[in-house]
Symmetry: C2
Subunit: 419 residues, 2 copies
């Protein structure tokens, strides 16, 4: 890394530390003002943002249609981005909430109060709207943020960042509350992963497997991981057929590119013909490729054979792997062996089987008779999410503003000394 880059990055860290101190004590009103002003600035500068995005698109070579779509902004997407920032502004302030309160026999009064984490390093890839979403979620939760987006969306992100800064100025908050790393030098990411001299409290990576793998191997600070969603739907022997057809089709095909999309379908052997066949027909008719084990291929010859690798794969595409299982324990065993602890659903009318499934699995989200595509902060009523956490520490499942806070214990006494 060049000395200049190293110096610039450390300066960002130091500036973020000062900004975090100011932000920690900012009122709920100040933060909401900053966000509504930022939303207005996004709308006011829509033309600039679209022009920057057009430059990004023109400069980008060798993009797949999916990548191009992720990078593309249009008026509708800009309006959605502004609305998203306003929705976050309207959320209850997560800072200062009393999470618990208790008294001790000696008269000490203890309150557990939600506080900001401090400084968040956000490392993401091509979607430029993450610049607005992540900045708004961090600001609302009282955290200074250092954003490092993908190089292919650098101009779009810079234009969106400029609008966010207008919001900060309108609320008289330091502009260093939301900093954007503008260099495309990948060493900047390395510097963030080292923690910028102890200033970064948490790294949140959003992106493909290689980004997340790099972050997890290099980071010297805590990481809020958003790993793969190898999500399962298990159609139990006592499933209602119509419900099972509806849920499986939705879980797989509503949107195939989201982390809550189902990748593997488990069906009890006893209902392979009665339920499995119509479900597989639905999927095939919707354009989904089916890969199955021997039992599945025996009743549905159009299915390709599933390999060992298939059970471990997050397709994010119109492909599903289907396995016939011997009841709920066999389903649980499969999910624990091959799953990624993201989201799993059981479809059944048998409450005992459902409760066993819900209790035994160790995933962030477990559902009974509902689609895995509900794995989403908006659908959970959190307003917005910075992602779906697949780790076990601090935050799991849809991570909204509340999970972007920590707490401190505030103890009020009357002169107590410890015996």
């Amino acid at each position: 890394m060049s000395g200049d880059l190293a110096r610039d990055m450390l300066a960002m860290g130091a500036a973020a530390r000062d900004a975090a101190r100011a932000l920690r004590e900012a009122s709920a009103e100040t933060k909401a003002t900053a966000l509504t002003s930022a939303a207005a600035a996004i709308r006011a500068h829509a033309t600039d943002i679209l022009a920057a995005n057009a430059e990004d698109l023109a400069a980008a070579k060798d993009l797949t249609p999916a990548m191009r779509d992720r990078l593309l902004l249009d008026e509708k997407r800009i309006e959605a981005m502004a609305n998203g920032v306003e929705d976050i502004a309207a959320l209850a302030d997560p800072v200062g909430r009393e999470l618990a309160r208790w008294q001790r026999p000696n008269g000490l009064d203890i309150r557990r109060i939600a506080t900001p984490i401090g400084i968040i390093g956000m490392i993401y890839e091509s979607r430029p709207n993450v610049t607005a979403d992540a900045a708004a979620l961090c600001l609302k939760s009282g955290n200074a943020v250092i954003l490092r987006g993908g190089s292919e969306s650098a101009r779009s992100s810079a234009a969106i960042h400029a609008a966010m800064l207008e919001g900060l100025r309108a609320a008289a908050l330091p502009e260093t509350v939301i900093q954007l790393v503008k260099t495309t030098d990948r060493n900047a990411v390395g510097a963030m992963l080292q923690g910028l001299n102890g200033t970064i409290d948490l790294i949140i990576p959003r992106g493909g497997k290689s980004l997340v793998a790099r972050v997890q191997s290099e980071a010297r600070v805590p990481v809020l991981a958003h790993l793969e969603g190898i999500c399962h739907v298990y159609v139990h022997a006592a499933a209602d057929l119509a419900m099972a057809r509806n849920i499986v089709l939705n879980a797989k095909m509503r949107r195939t590119g989201v982390c809550g999309a189902a990748e593997t379908l488990l069906i009890d052997k006893a209902i392979l013909s009665s339920h499995g066949l119509p479900i597989l027909e639905d999927l095939k008719n919707a354009g989904c490729e089916i890969r199955g084990d021997d039992a599945v291929r025996a009743i549905f010859p159009a299915a390709k054979p599933a390999t060992e690798e298939d059970w471990r794969t997050e397709y994010l595409d119109a492909v599903i792997t289907v396995k016939a299982v011997d009841g709920v324990d066999d389903a649980i065993r499969h999910i624990e062996t091959y799953g990624s602890h993201h989201t799993e659903s059981i479809v059944t009318e048998d409450a005992r089987a459902a409760e066993r499934f819900l209790a035994a699995l160790d995933s962030a989200i477990v559902l009974w008779n509902a689609s895995t595509q509900f794995a989403d902060g908006g659908e959970f009523g959190m307003g917005a999410e910075i992602g779906i956490g697949t780790g076990k520490l601090h935050a799991r499942g849809p991570v909204g503003v509340e999970q972007l806070t920590t707490f401190k214990d505030v103890v009020r006494g009357t002169g107590q000394a410890r015996p």
Copy 2:
């Protein structure tokens, strides 16, 4: 690392994974039975444990008196250890608690349920009682644990571990729920820090600076850090004199070797003579060495000059650094510059000054008119603690059984698919 050691450590990880699965579904009664049986076994094997401890003490060379005291067990300490395990057995089960519940407009019912973290790697130094305490806290919170104690207490820890295994057997839980690394090869610690092939969910280091530094630089899994307690007491201009004398003396001298002991005293300049002088006399009479800034030394010439390093030092001894400050903002600035975000106390009758102090500081515990030595899980009413967390993620302050859990979202539907 030898191939044998690497293989043995990975086998411990794999065994812990199976044990964690069994433990996750164990009932509250089963876990309580295991713990009360373990406590009984500690008492029944007191002679064996004392004999093992005598061997450790005989083998240990070059121990300071403080280290020797940490290593030493006697009948009273063994009884305290058994009582501690029984106290943990009697706590409410932290697993399965409903942390939140809400309904969505589409009828989905979401419950956030506390669950075990999974597998905890506990790396500690000489106190052998940590073997019982940590094992009991992890078991109560449903976590399998891999314990790696200090080599100087290896025989004592093995004897205590044997008693804990009796408890597991009495409850028909797998013995691999509580595993002890018996080799003194330091590479075993390195293997744990690499995560044992993805099995360790959390590393908790308890020990001196060099251990914690090694863990933080090498760990590839989340770490629940217990760093230094550079704790401050701030005597504000409106402090009650008698209360301030009592709190400062207690905060520094009750026990000097605990992380909640005060290391720095801040006193408002306006009351340096009226309050500072009697407080410093109290400390001196109690055998405390005083290091001061120029203003303090002007009124208390017996004080040695404080160096820049002193303000950053956790003495864990009868030494205190004292600084005269210009009001609450100056005190906050000092604590933010030199503190370790552990525990800070303000002594004042002025509610506005107190609230400013409590709100502005970013420490895990902030107190008003109470001693910093209350920074303790038992004093907080948590029954027992695995330590005082100084990080910001997941757990902070006294870490008891509740903070050794995570959660999952359990969603019950009636066939909902996402629009």
